[in-house]
C-alpha cells in the first residue's frame, strides 16, 4: 500500500505510465473513488488515502470495439473493453482478453499500446492463486 502520508513518494499509476491501479479511500465516510481528486466527492473530506489495488475483480459490463475511432486504434481492433468491479470496491474501465462475460473473475494486468501502458483484464481461473 502506498500512503499519501508519505510525501516523498507521489503515488503513480497507469495514467502516469506505471503499472498499477490506484484509488482514493475516504478516511471520514469510507467512499472509495477510482478517479483521484484529492478529496472525497461524497462528503468533501480531504483526508483521502491513495491505495494501490490488488488488481482482482469481477466483470460488470463488457463490449468489443470493432469500429475503432482512429488509425492507432484501428490497428488493434477488435479489442474488448470492460468495466471491472475491483474487490476493493471501485469500478474501473480496462481492455480485456476476448471471451469474458459478466460475472467472470479477473485480474488486471498490463498491455503496451504505443507509448502507453494500459490496464487489461484476464480471466482468473479457479486454479490460480487469488491473491498475487
Amino acid at each position: 500500500m502506498t500512503s499519501s502520508s508519505m510525501p516523498q513518494q507521489t503515488p503513480l499509476d497507469w495514467t502516469d505510465g506505471h503499472e498499477g491501479l490506484l484509488f482514493e479511500d475516504c478516511g471520514v465516510c469510507g467512499k472509495r473513488s477510482y478517479f483521484r481528486r484529492g478529496f472525497c466527492p461524497r462528503c468533501g473530506s480531504k483526508s483521502v488515502e491513495v491505495v494501490a489495488s490488488q488488481c482482482q475483480g469481477t466483470v460488470y459490463a463488457v463490449t468489443t470495439v470493432v469500429r475503432a475511432p482512429a488509425p492507432k486504434w484501428k490497428a488493434l481492433a477488435p479489442y474488448t473493453l470492460t468495466l471491472i468491479d475491483l474487490d476493493e470496491g471501485p469500478r474501473v474501465m480496462t481492455h480485456a482478453s476476448a471471451g469474458l462475460a459478466i460475472g467472470d473473475r479477473v485480474y488486471v494486468g498490463w498491455q503496451r499500446v504505443g507509448e502507453r501502458v494500459i490496464p487489461r483484464a484476464e480471466p482468473l481461473h479457479s486454479q490460480d492463486k487469488e491473491i498475487l
Partner: protein, 379 residues
C-alpha cells in the same frame, strides 16, 4: 407559463455546402413563419453547440448573422440532452419574465462538415480524459457496455432491440424529411455489421446534417400553440465508469417530477418522444420512464404498442435512428414531430386519435443527463 408557438425542422441527411449557421438559419426562418412572428418580435435567443463550428459565443454569433438583437441570449450544452434543456430554459426565461418570445435554434453539418472518424473522436471525448479516453473507446462502446449490463439485468435481447430499430424505420418511411427510409426487418438489424457488440450498425443512429428551431412564447400567439406544463432534469454522473448502476438511471426521477408538475399520470400520455441514439438507449428509457415493463420494450414494439395506430405512438418521424442525428437539433426533431402530431398537422402520417398530452425525454452523455418535458394541447 409558456407555449411552443412555432416549429421549424429541416430534412436530415446530406446538406452539401451548407454550414451550421446556414442550417440554423433555415430552421429559424421556418419557426418564425410557423409562429407568425418577425425577427423584431424575438427578444430572447438560446442555442447549443455545433461540433463542426466550435465558438465561444454561438448565440450572439447567430443573432448577428440572422439579424436579431435580443435582450437575453446565451448557449448551453449537455450533450444529447441539450435540445430539451434549451426548451426547458426557454420556458424558464419566459415564465420568469426575462423575455416574451425566445428562439431556440440548433443546426449542424455534422455529416458533410467533417469526417466520420473526426465525429467519432470528438464524441468519444465525453469519456474521462485520464481514465477512459486513453483506452480507445467510442460512444457506441460506452453504450455497448451499458447494453451488456442492462440486458444481463432484465433479459432484454438483441432481437428486442432490433424491434425498436425496425419500428423507427417504419415511421421514417412515412416522413419525407427522414435520412433513412428503406424498410428493414429484424433479421437485417441482427445481420448488420458489429460496431460495439451487442450494438450493430442498425442499432446506431446515423450522422446527419440538419437543423431545428422553435419559438417559446409567453402567450399562445399562434393557433397551434402547445403549452409546456412540466419540465425536470436529473444529472447523476458524467462517465460510464462513475455511474453507480447500469440498471437504473436518472430518467425515472426526471420524468416523475415533470409529470407531478404537470399533474399527469403515465396513462394520460398520448404521445411519446424519446431519445434514441442507440436502440439500447430507447429500450432503457421506455422502461425507465414506465412507458412499458422492464425488459419488455421490444415485445411492446413488436405488438404494435408504439406504432402510429398503437396505444402510445412513439417518435413517428423515425427518431434519431432513422430521421437522423445532427447533434443538438437531433432530439429537437422529436419535439417538432410531437408538436405537429398534437396539433393535427402531421398530414399523411397524422395519428388518428390526436393526442392531448406528450411526454418527451432526452439523454446526454452516457445516460448521464436527463431532461423530461410534458406538453399539452389546449384546444
Amino acid at each position: 407559463m409558456s407555449w411552443v408557438t412555432g416549429v421549424g425542422l429541416t430534412p436530415f441527411g446530406r446538406h452539401e455546402g451548407r454550414s451550421s449557421l446556414d442550417l440554423m438559419t433555415m430552421a429559424a426562418e421556418s419557426a418564425l413563419q410557423d409562429a407568425g412572428l418577425a425577427r423584431a418580435d424575438v427578444d430572447g435567443l438560446v442555442c447549443g453547440y455545433a461540433t463542426t463550428m466550435p465558438h465561444i459565443m454561438l448565440s450572439t454569433l447567430f443573432a448577428e448573422h440572422f439579424g436579431l438583437q435580443p435582450r437575453y441570449a446565451h448557449a448551453a450544452q449537455v450533450g444529447g440532452a441539450t435540445g430539451f434543456a434549451l426548451i426547458m430554459l426557454a420556458h424558464l426565461i419566459v415564465s420568469g419574465g426575462a423575455a416574451d418570445n425566445v428562439l431556440v435554434v440548433a443546426g449542424e453539418n455534422r455529416l458533410t462538415g467533417q469526417s466520420r472518424d473526426m465525429t467519432m473522436q470528438t464524441l468519444a471525448q465525453a469519456g474521462h480524459a485520464r481514465y477512459e479516453v486513453p483506452l480507445g473507446p467510442t460512444v457506441p462502446a460506452y453504450y455497448g457496455l451499458v447494453a451488456s449490463r442492462y440486458m444481463h439485468e432484465y433479459g432484454l435481447t438483441e432481437r428486442d432491440m432490433a424491434e425498436l430499430a425496425v419500428l423507427m424505420r417504419q415511421h421514417a418511411a412515412s416522413h419525407p424529411g427522414a435520412q433513412l427510409r428503406d424498410l428493414i426487418r429484424v433479421e437485417d438489424v441482427l445481420a448488420s455489421a458489429p460496431i460495439a457488440p451487442p450494438l450493430k450498425l442498425m442499432d446506431c443512429c446515423p450522422i446527419s446534417d440538419g437543423g431545428a428551431a422553435f419559438l417559446i412564447s409567453r402567450e399562445p400567439l399562434s393557433p397551434h400553440a402547445l403549452r409546456i406544463i412540466g419540465c425536470s432534469q436529473a444529472h447523476t454522473h458524467q462517465h460510464v465508469t462513475a455511474a453507480e448502476d447500469l440498471a437504473h438511471f436518472g430518467a425515472h426521477a426526471a420524468m416523475q417530477r415533470a409529470m407531478a408538475q404537470a399533474g399527469v399520470k403515465v396513462g394520460d400520455i398520448g404521445y411519446a418522444a424519446i431519445y434514441d441514439s442507440f436502440t439500447i438507449t430507447l429500450a432503457i428509457l421506455l422502461e425507465e420512464l414506465g412507458l412499458c415493463e422492464r425488459g419488455q420494450s421490444g415485445a411492446a414494439a413488436a405488438a404494435g404498442h408504439f406504432s402510429s395506430d398503437g396505444e402510445l405512438p412513439l417518435n413517428t418521424h423515425g427518431g434519431l435512428l432513422s430521421y437522423g442525428h445532427c447533434g443538438v437539433a437531433g432530439a429537437l426533431a422529436h419535439l417538432a414531430e410531437a408538436h405537429v402530431q398534437l396539433t393535427g398537422r402531421a398530414t399523411g402520417r397524422q395519428i388518428k386519435r390526436q393526442p392531448v398530452i406528450a411526454a418527451l425525454h432526452g439523454d446526454g452523455g452516457i445516460m448521464s443527463s436527463h431532461i423530461s418535458l410534458i406538453m399539452e394541447r389546449t384546444r
